[in-house]
Symmetry: C2
Amino acid sequence: MMFQGERGRMSMPDIPTGNLRALFNEARCQTCSLSSLCLPLALEFPDMDEFNAIIRRRTPLKKGETLLLQDSPFTSLYAVRSGSLKQVTTEGSGEDQLTNFYLPSELVGLDGIDEVRYPGSVIALETTTVCEIPFDRLDALSQEIPELRSQLFRTMSKEMRDDRRMMRLLSRKTADQRLASFFVSLSGRFRRRGYSPYSFRLSMSRADIGNYLGLAVETVSRILNRFQQQTLVAVSGREVNILDLDTLCRVADEKVVDSPGVCQPISAGQSRC
Amino acid sequence: MMFQGERGRMSMPDIPTGNLRALFNEARCQTCSLSSLCLPLALEFPDMDEFNAIIRRRTPLKKGETLLLQDSPFTSLYAVRSGSLKQVTTEGSGEDQLTNFYLPSELVGLDGIDEVRYPGSVIALETTTVCEIPFDRLDALSQEIPELRSQLFRTMSKEMRDDRRMMRLLSRKTADQRLASFFVSLSGRFRRRGYSPYSFRLSMSRADIGNYLGLAVETVSRILNRFQQQTLVAVSGREVNILDLDTLCRVADEKVVDSPGVCQPISAGQSRC
DNA sequence: GACTGCTCTTGACCAAGATCAACTCGAGAA
DNA sequence: TTCTCGAGTTGATCTTGGTCAAGAGCAGTC
């Protein structure tokens, strides 16, 4: 009943050369494989060194461990090196809301800058390594290095646009469209990081996906099943094979109207890069 | 059937001394009544002058006029001086999504920084005046004035948190809770600007509210009606009187469980300040 | 291996809110 | 004043996806 994709898969991003080496030898922005996606992407040699100097490496987090606790004092941003995390916000008497997934090269904590405290807990979904960037040092450095400041502005601005896109998803899209959007977006994020956009392993549970997309777990499950019957994807547990990215992409943006060319799956602007 | 509030109302924010005077005499940050809320809020005398120098005043927009067209080249941020605007994004083949309302002292355009183009159109909901802040000049100035840079970071960070709150609203809250949240939030924004938090005029249509909150116009209408019967608010056309902010606030966060003290209507962190 | 919790799936039912349709209201124009 | 048109309201019906309940699958542990 389930189709187990046999193509060479790649698990959720991890540093090719292994964690230990990454931590001790390669723990420098200059040689980091993510440098072209990460915060210092615009920096040249001497500036890069300065930036590298303020970074603190952390020991890897295990699955389920907490990087940040909601309402703990804001001190640093964190760049994801490998693995993945989720941001969860508990507000009022309501249940948690999963507001974001973070993948390698993404920046955690930007939404805490103007408060004294972090607005949500951030939890590792698998073994995860991060670089800590003390914000006061970063702020100071961003005064000396205009490119760094610009990059920070750009990153925040991008995240705001992604939020708006998410708002549209939550207020206008059907359950099918949401799931499709989710896969298309994930696929793009993997592609941009050099991983297969067609074959990957989800590090988050169905419950997480549902929470993030504003759907019940059961709905996620049902629709995944339907997608499978329509041979859009092949899902086995958390292994995902995207079989028809094109249709998926068309489903994501609109009803399944056949309007070819409307969708550009490789679009640079496609969600949380 | 309708209760027309008789208390002294204040219309949507407008500069007390009138538009003309505002435009020509008072068009300086130093004397602007919004300076304590606006971008230069952290600046002292000489810096404030420098900031003031890069601002361009614009002739007032009439209701329905477009400040920014989606996809037009990004050049400037805009600070609202008086009136109000809405941001509308058209994406894919779908209908418009209203992503934000802007009130005086708020900053329009932050989500366009990292793209060459604005991600949405921004349209005046009533007669509205704005200050144009060319971004390249602001960026340059933010290098010289650390307080300005910090303030920019803070503003963006705050907007991100508001977006997350909106995401929670859209994915978890019932229609009643959404409307209640909307009123509580508006009320707080008025209060912070020195206007009555209980009595104001909506500058947006029911359709706008529905679009923003992810609800059909009919639903907005029905629930407004219900709120009225519960004497939470008194609505007559676009005139709003909030009769029971406390309950409204309690409804906003959760089901109408009676858990007193949970809600802090005056909370500083309450949405788009 | 069997046990213990989970995560995930599947089915049956229900309800919140969308949609469709008709009608009212109110502001501006002639 | 009356006309017109868009905004808002109200009612009837339908649909999507939530909720409840039960069972299957799977991973870690003893």
